[in-house]
Amino acid sequence: MKKILPLILAAALTVSAFAGCSSQQKNGTVSTDGSTSMEEVIGVLGEAFQEKYSGMTFTYNPTGSGSGIQAVKEGRCDIGLSSRSLKEEEKADGLTETVLAYDGIAVIVNPENKLDDLDVETLAKIYTGEITNWSDLGGNDAQIVVIGREAGSGTRDGFESITGTEDACKYRQELTSTGDVITTVSQNPDAIGYASLAAVSDQVKALSVGGISPSEATVKDGSYCIQRPFVLVTKTGTELSDAAQTFFDFVLSDEAAPLISKAGAVPVK
């Protein structure tokens, strides 16, 4: 036994040395700044990027979409991250957007729930407490239990901004992870919640919104409306630094697409 251990260690070292060779040597720093909703996606991409290009340093400053766009404009970062499309005046101000991925948010209910479809207005009324009983929507006579995420969560921010219910939602439960939301909704026949599309399982039923059921395809073609783009913001006409360009190409490559899916978003490719 004592003899085997050093052997294994030596083998492990050799393997890791070879693994080290496969990563490409390039030096430089890429700084990104912006949307907190993109934290997961950009975190995964940043890690993979640094693994692939061992000399590269990647930084991400979670400040919010607005500050991120401002930061690119003032040249304080290489790439800005925004979880909304750029406005016309921002584009006129010399900024370019490149869509990295789409974030689809599914509205979920318990599988026992008879409802299959809601429109955005009704959804907003449920979340702001205007409609409080499922019978008003043709369901059972039971109080609607509104489940959401904690303040500051990107999913909550996305859901509330798309449904126009910012700061007006009356949550019964504010949970801190997608998994908790799904578990809670699966346990309570009267609950409604929202969760990142990629995380939805058969424990719960994803409602169609305005007649369109959520899927990667409907999110990508824009027909499913509870979604928003994750955008990379750059300066129009200004060349990115070598490191930043490498990162930019990497995150838009086919190689990065599965990583984006894993982080819960729908890649453009």
Partner: protein
């Protein structure tokens, strides 16, 4: 001889350094909490922070009132004590005085096991069993509530209460009990009128320890209490001081993050107070 003394001093030095690590950690945490907790309180205003009942940290016009969290923590802890102490106390009297050796081994083993279960497991079981159970039992729309948190906390504080109380009861001199029995009191009379009063400081310490454990618990209550920042109601969704910090920390920024540190500071003060109370009772029990 000289060499030996130098070695002796060297070892003393090492022990001193090791001892100081703990002190250093406490100092570091205290200083850090105070330094990072004060700015938000000053910005928000101490009265607005402690006595405003509205918490909306990520809203366009944010409001940072932590009164709901303070009240929830106080009510939740009080509720857990109300349920946990009678059960824990009577269990400890039974185990220390009445139980046959075999039962005692089994029960104390179970109590130790209960103490070793991670809090996330309590939370998970609470979420899967207790929350739906409360929902069905009381016919309310949702079971995640203050009541669910109280029940989980009551179970979690049992081991501390039982173990400390047993130690206190066992420390009562046998002569006291013998005297009582010799005077014609029944065993149960003896335990409740002689042993328990003699051990009362130790039992009080057990209760305070339970308070400390209940007030500081975050993970388990976060999973069963619903986390909406409402003023506490038994069947309502509530947020504790601990869960207020834990639930928003990961995505927070700016004043919101600073305010979370301030909540942690308030929680820290609460725990210091329970700690001081614990010391007081332990000291008294030693003097007796």
């Amino acid at each position: 001889m000289k060499k030996q003394k130098a070695f002796e001093n060297f070892i003393h030095g090492i022990f001193l350094i090791l001892g100081l690590i703990t002190v250093g950690c406490v100092l570091l945490i205290t200083v850090y909490l105070v330094v990072s907790g004060i700015p938000a309180i000053r910005k928000i205003g101490i009265r607005d922070f402690l006595f405003n009942a509205k918490w909306a940290s990520a809203a366009k016009v944010p409001s940072y009132g932590i009164l709901p969290f303070i009240l929830t923590s106080v009510y939740g802890t009080a509720g857990a004590i109300l349920i946990g102490v009678p059960i824990g106390f009577l269990t400890s009297v039974y185990l220390a005085k009445l139980a046959p050796a075999k039962i005692r081994t089994v029960v104390s083993g179970a109590v130790s096991l209960l103490a070793g279960i991670p809090s996330v497991v309590y939370g998970l079981v609470g979420m899967m069993v207790l929350v739906p159970g409360i929902r069905n039992l009381f016919h309310i729309p949702d079971g995640a509530s203050l009541l669910a948190a109280i029940i989980v906390l009551a179970i979690m504080i049992l081991p501390s209460i039982i173990n400390v109380s047993i130690t206190a009861l066992e420390a009562v001199p046998k002569e006291y009990e013998d005297a009582s029995l010799a005077l014609g009191a029944t065993p149960v009379e003896t335990y409740f009128k002689v042993s328990v009063p003699a051990a009362k400081s130790g039992i009080a310490a057990a209760v305070v320890l339970g308070v400390g454990r209940a007030i500081g618990e975050a993970m388990a209550v976060m999973m069963v209490s619903g986390n909406a920042p409402n003023l506490p109601e038994l069947f309502g969704s509530v947020r504790f001081l601990t869960t207020a910090v834990a639930s928003e920390m990961s995505y927070s920024s700016g004043l919101q993050r600073q305010a979370l540190f301030s909540i942690a500071l308030v929680l820290f003060l609460f725990i210091m107070l329970t700690g001081a109370a614990l010391n007081f009772f332990l000291k008294r029990s030693k003097e007796e």
